[in-house]
């Protein structure tokens, strides 16, 4: 929709050009959330489209995803065969409530910065041990794990004006085996639970719970747990972290999570 409150559009060629910040400014990546609702209090859009950040940079140490990488680009990415966990890329893109036309505009970074529990790019990058590079308006870049980047429903660690520049997925995690389960109240709808398990060559197991919880929750196991062990670990998660919204009650999400986790455990134990 038209954002009628916008008076100014800034189109920097370099993020460093933007030294000032105010709460009335918003970074514009794909625009698929900003333009989907009214934005009272926002009068200036700062366009990231002219920064020319690379979308995907595969390298020996892993994959760097530019924050402005379109979902469609990630969906089409062909990963090296030994990156077994890259099978999640497509599954997580399909985990969006939004379909492929939205992917042509929306970005990976935008999904992280929205920090909704059901953000499937958060699921993907947190499960794959992603590390964010952040560009504050003043000072040097800093890094933070995706698991720590999102702090709650629609909340994250970004300081005012701070930009998410990229997410790096380490090669060691990309080489792990992975399995995913997703459940929604409607068919192909917004996730009520999106759960990802990865297994390392040494038999270790990592379970990342998203959508069901207000932020991504990680359970690490040095060895593949048994069903009871997995169940107990999930039961130990903080009670107030189960997320309640119109896309599913907290009680339901708490109920289905161990079931989906168990399916993942069995798949990766095979």
């Amino acid at each position: 929709m038209d954002i009628g409150t916008i008076k100014t559009l800034l189109r920097p060629r370099d993020a460093a050009e933007i030294t000032e910040w105010s709460p009335s400014r918003a970074w514009l990546a794909g625009g698929t959330w900003l333009f989907s609702d009214v934005q009272p209090g926002t009068d200036t859009l700062v366009d990231l489209g002219g920064l020319g950040w690379p979308e995907l940079e595969p390298a020996a140490d892993g994959l760097t995803i530019g924050a402005t990488c379109h979902i469609a680009t990630l969906y089409k990415f062909t990963a090296p065969a030994e990156w077994q966990a890259a099978s999640l890329f497509r599954h997580c893109c399909e985990g969006f409530l939004a379909g492929f036309k939205i992917w042509n505009a929306s970005t990976v970074g935008g999904n992280l910065c929205m920090s909704l529990p059901a953000g499937p790019m958060i699921s993907l990058t947190s499960a794959l041990d992603g590390v964010c590079t952040l560009l504050p308006r003043q000072g040097a870049p800093r890094t933070v794990k995706v698991l720590d980047f999102v702090t709650g429903n629609n909340r994250n660690v970004l300081a005012p004006g701070e930009l998410l520049r990229s997410i790096h997925l380490p090669v060691a995690t990309l080489r792990r085996r992975a399995a995913m389960r997703q459940v929604s109240l409607t068919k192909l709808g917004r996730s009520g639970a999106l759960i990802i398990g990865t297994a390392g060559p040494g038999g270790d197991f990592a379970l990342t719970i998203t959508a069901a919880t207000i932020r991504p929750m990680r359970l690490d196991f040095a060895a593949m747990p048994d069903a009871a062990g997995l169940h107990a670990a999930i039961a130990g998660l903080p009670e107030d972290h189960w997320f309640e919204d119109v896309h599913g009650s907290a009680a339901w999400k708490r109920h289905i999570t161990p079931h989906l986790a168990e399916e993942i455990r069995q798949e990766l134990s095979a």
């Binding site: 514009l28 333009f35 366009d47 492929f100 036309k101 409607t186 068919k187 119109v246 079931h259």
Partner: protein
């Protein structure tokens, strides 16, 4: 900025926060629609350099230097349709057509892999009308439309006459006009569910450049009305002002700002400073009936009450009926509020002409009643008001309501300017109407052989903050679903109660849907208790021709069996469900499969007055022109009316031009609602066609001297004995003599016939996650003769999809302060392609002796048996009864029990 739109170079700067959707529309490309304006429905889909995007989310400035292709640029320069446009035409893959542009632009961009996976590919393309079957058929190149052959129009799958406009984006909807020089309205909506306005400081808003006027309760006519549209204005309470001083729901109009742009009007609203005296609230209708509850409307009664309507009735003796019962089934069932979610939001445009007449272009199901209400509110003579519709993008009862026209007329009268108000999608949820939430207690008594001895219900309907449709929906709730069963002793109590939520309104199925869910669920439980097959229990008790038809009112009604196909429908569904078909149950130990069925009955037309007129003329070129007051909102009445006229005139439907829903140009029509488009307006069309046919033959006989009985009307001529006279020649000769080839007839609805629908469902329930998968849907309809089978099937499939939404996906919860939590299509989930089963639609072979050309109503009743059939199938699968809609996984999982 420069870009290319459909081959045309546009050089104009966008606003800094403008989206591409409004940018292309500002440059005259109206084929790009606003459905949700938030990226969820896909109606605005365009291509940027060949890549499909949602133009409502696409910043306009990013189109610079790019090529934008819209639906209007898809056909060849010579007008040759894109193959997909042709396929949509051939399959009749649209009803209102508002989603079609985006649907075609999306599908035309799909790869082979995407075409093989439509549930994913069409995630963001919502259609509220069709149920997606015809769209899938179009995509797969399956077509149903038939040739338009003279004399064979009735019963043929004649293509929708608006089709070519719809698939090319040129069909003109309410808002498809240039907005330059128009003023725009935005409304400040109440943040409180119950409050009295103390003061409104409008000075800051009025001082803003571009703000033309601010209106509050102090500026409007002090005349109450109901927003609900009915022929009889007394059935709805006059409880509404254009702007009120008391706020009775969160979202009610507080004040209106009229400005040179929508953005300025919105800024003006934000600048209003309102002081409220917050009042106590009540949201639950049972609580609202208790003594001491906050009273919403002071009607000067000795004992103030929130009960707007109370309807009670009894036939036989309910006490004797239960005394005679050997088995008693009791239960409570409730249905939820839902929004119509027609893809075209409410909206209207009003202006004055040089003579001071007021013109209103609106998206309405009843422009004539809107005219009457505007006349009442503004003390304007009816002759000074002109209300009309262009193509209406869906209604479903939501547009049987006047929610925008009054403010536009107020602003046009005061400013002398052309004024537009277009609802946002959010306003559809916060400021329009919903289906009435009803809770129904059912108690049934029966003999062990299944014979009913007593049928009793108590219905509490939440009419929300205003009472429009409150009593009529309650009456319908107590009507046909009770009439359906032969039982000597019936009794019902019904209450429609004011609460501080968004008002209830008319919604397809209209009250009967809610109690059909309750009674058909209870009948299923009774069958279980008796150990009887649900079909067998119904067969023992349903009404049959010759029965006295009554619900709970002993007075004779004016309903009659014009035809009867209920038992045929049951046979058809039972046989189909017993045969192979549908989808197999998913593998895995957690899935439980079950089947369910339910019935529904509808009286064809409303108990309140409803009238229509049709004017038909033979033109000098030998074609016909038909004027009917009915609105066309995608329900296909226009096609049906052309077919009825053509059938009687023994010509092609294409030879009958038609104009609709215009108070200046067409005869009076109460409105397109209450399943009347075919049985009332269609009846007027039939009568006018018979009259004109007879007039033509009378004149031809006189003109030729051939005996009248030897004259026959054929496609473009009259056969008089051995002589053929062209209609053009006949018209010329007659006109010279002063003979007028015009017929005008009115129709009225009494007696009313009855229609029946039966739904069968097979589904699987996941005992852990609560997911429900619909594996098979079989529907049989007794709707008399099918004027256009393709259209009737489309209506039924659309109604099934809408019912699936009501049952499984849609909900409108509010928070503790009465605000709707999910006022967007992202968070209010109407069924998408993936949610909607492909249904088998079967028809009883009946010909109605009361309906026009044997037809009966078919737009509404088909929605009613679906929800109980699904609930009954879930009960059959799991052994658990879920009596409270919606049946979302998170509301049913904990009763399922892991296998």
């Amino acid at each position: 900025m420069s870009c290319i739109i459909d081959g045309r170079t546009i050089d104009a700067p966008p606003e800094p926060g403008q989206c591409l959707r409004t940018y292309v529309r500002d440059h005259g490309v109206f084929g790009v629609k606003k459905g949700c304006d938030g990226g969820d429905c896909g109606a605005c889909t365009v291509w940027v350099d060949g890549t499909p995007v949602h133009s409502c989310l696409y910043p306009a400035f990013r189109a610079e230097g790019h090529e934008v292709t819209t639906i209007q640029g898809l056909a060849g320069a010579d007008g040759t349709l894109h193959p997909l446009q042709q396929k949509f035409l051939d399959a009749g893959a649209f009803q209102c057509g508002f989603c079609t542009a985006g649907m075609i632009m999306t599908v035309a961009s799909l790869s082979a892999a995407q075409l093989a996976d439509l549930p994913h590919a069409l995630k963001n393309n919502l259609c509220r009308c069709t149920g997606y079957r015809s769209i899938a058929d179009a995509i797969h190149g399956v077509g149903e439309t038939e040739a338009d052959i003279g004399g064979q129009a009735c019963g043929a799958n004649i293509a929708n006459p608006f089709g070519p406009g719809i698939v090319t984006g040129h069909a003109c909807y309410t808002m498809d006009v240039p907005t330059q020089d128009m003023l725009h309205i935005k409304v400040l909506r109440s943040p409180h569910a119950h409050a009295r306005i103390v003061t409104i400081d409008r000075s800051a808003a009025e001082a803003m450049p571009g703000v033309v006027a601010v209106y509050t309760w102090e500026d409007v006519p002090q005349r109450q009305f109901s927003t609900a549209l009915h022929e009889d204005h007394l059935v709805d309470p006059d409880d509404t002002y254009v702007l009120d001083r008391v706020m009775r729901f969160a979202g009610q109009r507080v004040a209106a700002v009229v400005a040179e742009s929508e953005a300025i009007a919105s800024a003006g609203c934000a600048a209003l400073k309102v002081e409220y005296e917050v009042l106590p609230t009540v949201f639950d209708p049972e609580a609202a009936m208790l003594p001491g509850a906050p009273i919403l409307h002071d009607k000067g009664l000795n004992v103030p009450t929130n009960i707007f309507a109370e309807i009670k009735g009894e036939v036989g003796s309910i006490a004797a009926g239960f005394a005679a019962a050997e088995v008693i089934q009791e239960g409570t069932y409730s249905t939820s509020r839902v929004q119509h979610a027609h893809l075209e939001t409410h909206g209207s445009i009003a202006w004055l002409d040089q003579d001071g007449r007021v013109h209103v272009r609106t998206s309405s199901q009843g422009p004539f009643v809107v005219r009457a209400k505007l006349s009442h509110i503004f003390s304007l003579p009816v002759r000074n008001l002109h209300v009309f519709t262009e193509r209406v993008g869906g209604g479903f009862g939501g547009k049987q309501e006047m929610v925008t026209e009054d403010l536009c007329v107020l602003a046009a009268l005061r400013t002398g300017r052309r004024v537009k108000w277009e609802f946002t999608r959010e306003e559809q949820f916060t400021g329009a109407t919903t289906r009435h939430q009803m809770t129904t207690q059912v108690k049934i008594g029966a003999k062990r052989d299944g014979t009913l001895t007593a049928l009793q219900i108590r219905v509490v309907s939440n009419t929300g903050a205003y009472g429009g449709h409150g009593s009529e929906t309650l009456g319908a709730a107590l009507g046909p679903p009770m009439t359906l069963y032969r039982c000597t002793n019936k009794q019902a109590d019904g209450y429609a109660v004011y609460t501080n939520v968004v008002p209830g309104g008319g919604f397809r199925g209209y009250g009967a849907s809610q109690t059909t869910f309750a009674i058909e669920s209870a009948m299923d439980e009774l069958a279980g208790k008796l150990g009887m097959d649900p079909f067998a229990l119904r067969r023992r008790n349903v009404i049959r021709p010759g029965d006295w038809m009554e619900s709970v009112f002993p007075d004779p009604g004016e309903i009659d069996f014009g035809s009867y196909g209920l038992t045929q429908c049951m046979d058809l569904v039972e046989a189909a469900m017993a045969a192979e078909g549908g989808t197999a149950s998913p593998a895995g130990k957690h899935w439980a499969e079950g089947t369910g069925m339910a019935l529904a009955m509808l009286e064809c037309g409303p108990p309140t007055e409803h009238r229509s007129g049709a004017e038909l003329r033979l033109l000098a070129d030998g074609s016909y022109h038909l004027a009917v007051g009915t609105s066309e909102m995608g329900n296909g009445t226009t096609t049906a009316h052309k077919q009825i006229a053509a059938s009687i005139l023994n010509t092609r439907a294409g030879q009958v031009a038609i104009i609709n829903a215009d108070t200046d140009l067409t005869p009076y029509d109460t409105g397109t609602f209450a399943s009347t488009g075919t049985v009332v307006a269609g009846k007027a069309v039939g009568l006018a066609a018979e009259t004109l046919r007879d007039a033509i033959l009378d004149y031809a006989a006189r003109h030729t001297g051939v005996e009248r009985a030897a004259c026959r009307l054929e496609a473009d001529h009259v056969l008089c004995g051995n002589r053929r006279i062209r209609l053009t020649d006949l018209h010329a000769a007659g006109s010279q003599e002063g003979f007028r080839f015009i017929a005008f007839r009115k129709s009225y609805l009494s007696p009313r016939t009855v229609a029946f629908n039966v739904q069968g469902i097979r589904l699987a329930v996941h005992r852990v996650t609560g997911e429900v998968r619909l594996l098979r849907s079989v529907h049989a309809a007794d709707v008399g003769r099918l004027i256009n089978p393709m259209q009737v099937r489309g209506q039924i499939e659309g109604a099934i999809a809408m019912a699936v939404g009501w049952t499984l996906t849609e909900k409108m919860p509010h928070d503790a302060t009465g605000h709707v939590i999910n006022p967007s299509l992202r968070n209010y989930r109407i069924p998408a392609f993936a949610d909607t089963p492909r249904s088998e639609v079967l028809f009883a072979d009946t010909y109605d002796k009361l309906g026009p050309l044997g037809a009966k109503s078919q737009g509404e009743c088909c929605i009613n048996p679906v929800a109980p059939a699904i609930a009954n199938a879930i009960a059959n699968a799991t052994g658990q009864r879920f009596g409270h809609l919606p049946l979302t996984p998170d509301r049913i999982y904990d009763l399922l029990g892991v296998a």
